[in-house]
Amino acid sequence: MTEQVQVLAVPSRPQARAVNVRGATLRAIYIIWKRDLIRYWRDRMRVVASLAQPVLFLFVFGSGLSSSLRGSTGGFGGSGSSLQYVQFIFPGIIGMSVLFTSIFGAMSIVWDREFGFLKEVLVAPIHRSAVAIGKTLGGATQAMFQGIVILILAPIVGVKLSFLGVVELIPMIFLFAFALSALGVAVAARMRTMQGFQMVMNFLMMPMFFLAGALFPLGGNLPAWLSVLTRFDPASYGIDALRRTVLTASGVPARTLDRLGLSIFGQPLSVWPEVAVLLAFGALMLSLAVYGFRQRD
């Protein structure tokens, strides 16, 4: 190294630095979201492996119970209905996939923290809300794909879906995934180590799944305590909305759906109020997620 150092090129340094805060935040959200998707595509084994559980539920659990639940008239939905149990749980299994992928997706924040990558994001001159929003959208997009993949199984279980029905389902799956991812990010933002992960599994994911009516009708004669708990589970609204949309599209009458589906004070709900509940829940969780990232580090 000589004393005289030749400057080859002096870069134009004062960049478009923090000129446009909103633009910077949007760019950050975009790249955080994109990174999650790159990782999702690159890990194709995970995509395939994550199909194993829904397939088990549908074909082993679903088919197994289907035969014993067949009423005297042959249907699960009560007299005069031809609805099979496996068809009934099909939207519930979409919901399960969305739920698990969303929460797992959000938990990648804890991995990032453990492996140091989160530091790279947190020291960047960006608004912390970009991290929360980017991670929520990233998790939601992955979960949406996982939910859509389950739709491929529809013909096998005898659920008929039109192209239009699928188009209608996609935004609904995304909204559901968004609300759950926001919940996951709100939790993960406050988690320090992977040790807390088992807690999240046991005290958040599994109860949410079982209470959501993925596997049994919420409109049935549930014990009062259980009935109340299921109404406090945000996933109940998502799965009910999915179920109404999927089964209506395959010709199950609204009467049957009202009898099996979610009701509040004896009043059957319809898709729109349920969508509103998901939106409100998602917005609340997202603000908690943003707040969680502002508080820490």
Partner: protein, 336 residues
């Protein structure tokens, strides 16, 4: 064109006044004053726990100082931390790359976070990759990189957004000597090409030779500051190491007959002399005890540290954390 070795003290890029950081009762940093000029490679040296990482974290706005003032690129770290963050690049002690992304994707991620203009983004990434000679491997996932390559990619990422200062916390920790030297080559290349100030910490004394100026920090205070050669002249000449069966008598005789002050280290005696060539014959003729070995060498920064603090810099028995870090570097670094 002016050489960088002489810092332009008229416009310091980093300036620190009476910086203090206490954690409860532990005083990690106990009053540091410091100025680093534009274009300098400034080394912060000291044993583990001396306060290096705390100081660098304060300068990077990751830790708030208890008292004192720190300015980076003319901006107070407490008043406008995000403006400081936009103007600095960071290479952390622990790896912070995404192993599932390619090298280019990791840089792309960074470019977006730091708002690099879309028109020059790709060109800039290519440019940064070529400085650290990773162009060939840009499309491989970081999982497949060696420890040295990951460090190089982190350096490329650190400079991507044209920062004024690049901070590196122990960038060579856990790398083998050959790779360490390579990293230094790249850092000098970066300085030359990017017109950037480099501020780094290390506890490898030999690495300080690569810096323009160094500060030696011990127990939260700066004990010496200057160019490596300035600091070495403080030792006052060559260092003679004498091995003898009777160190006590030999030390006594050196003291009384030759008027020098020997230090005992690991059963040997060390003395500093202005000129080793004329000292050796005197040593053999004047000492009455047998001498089993004697060696002379130019002073190193280890000698400087020894002289200033009265003890050798601990080439630490690696702590559990260091071992974990190294394992992380070798095996993990973002592998999931």
């Amino acid at each position: 064109m002016r050489g960088y070795a002489v810092p332009r003290m008229g416009q310091p890029v980093i300036s620190v006044r009476d910086l203090v950081k206490t954690y409860g009762k532990v005083e990690a940093v106990r009053g540091i004053d410091l100025e680093v000029g534009a274009g300098e490679i400034f080394g912060f040296l000291g044993p583990n726990g001396a306060g290096k990482s705390t100081t660098i974290s304060i300068l990077c706005t990751l830790v708030r100082p208890t008292s004192g003032v720190a300015q980076v690129a003319g901006i107070d770290v407490l008043k406008d931390p995000s403006a400081v963050r936009a103007r600095i690049g960071l290479v952390f002690q622990d790896p912070s790359l995404d192993g599932q992304l390619t090298g280019r994707e990791n840089l792309d991620f960074h470019a977006y976070l730091y708002g690099l203009p879309a028109v020059t983004r790709k060109q800039r990434i290519d440019n940064a990759l070529s400085i650290v000679e990773l162009t060939d491997r840009a499309e491989s996932t970081v999982m497949t990189y060696s420890g040295g390559m990951r460090r190089r990619l982190e350096i490329a990422r650190g400079i991507l957004h044209y920062p004024e200062v690049l901070f590196l916390d122990e960038p060579t920790l856990g790398l083998d000597p050959q790779t360490r030297n390579k990293i230094w080559d790249y850092l000098h290349a970066v300085r030359t090409r990017e017109h950037i100030t480099i501020f780094m910490t290390t506890h490898y004394m030999d690495e300080a030779e690569f810096c323009d100026r160094i500060a030696i920090i011990d127990q939260g205070k700066i004990v010496a500051l200057g160019t490596p050669s300035e600091l070495k002249t403080r030792v006052g000449g060559d260092v003679i190491t004498i091995t003898t069966p009777d160190t006590t008598v030999a030390a006594e005789q050196i003291r009384t007959l030759m008027h020098l002050e020997p230090t005992q280290i690991d059963g040997t005696l060390q003395v500093e002399v202005p000129d080793s060539a004329s000292f050796m014959p005197r040593l053999f003729s004047e000492l009455s005890v047998p001498i089993s070995a004697v060696s002379a060498r130019r002073p190193s920064l280890d000698d400087v540290f020894l002289k200033l603090t009265g003890r050798a810099i601990r080439e630490q028995g690696t702590t559990a954390l260091d071992t974990m870090r190294n394992m992380g570097r070798i095996w993990g670094g973002g592998r999931r």
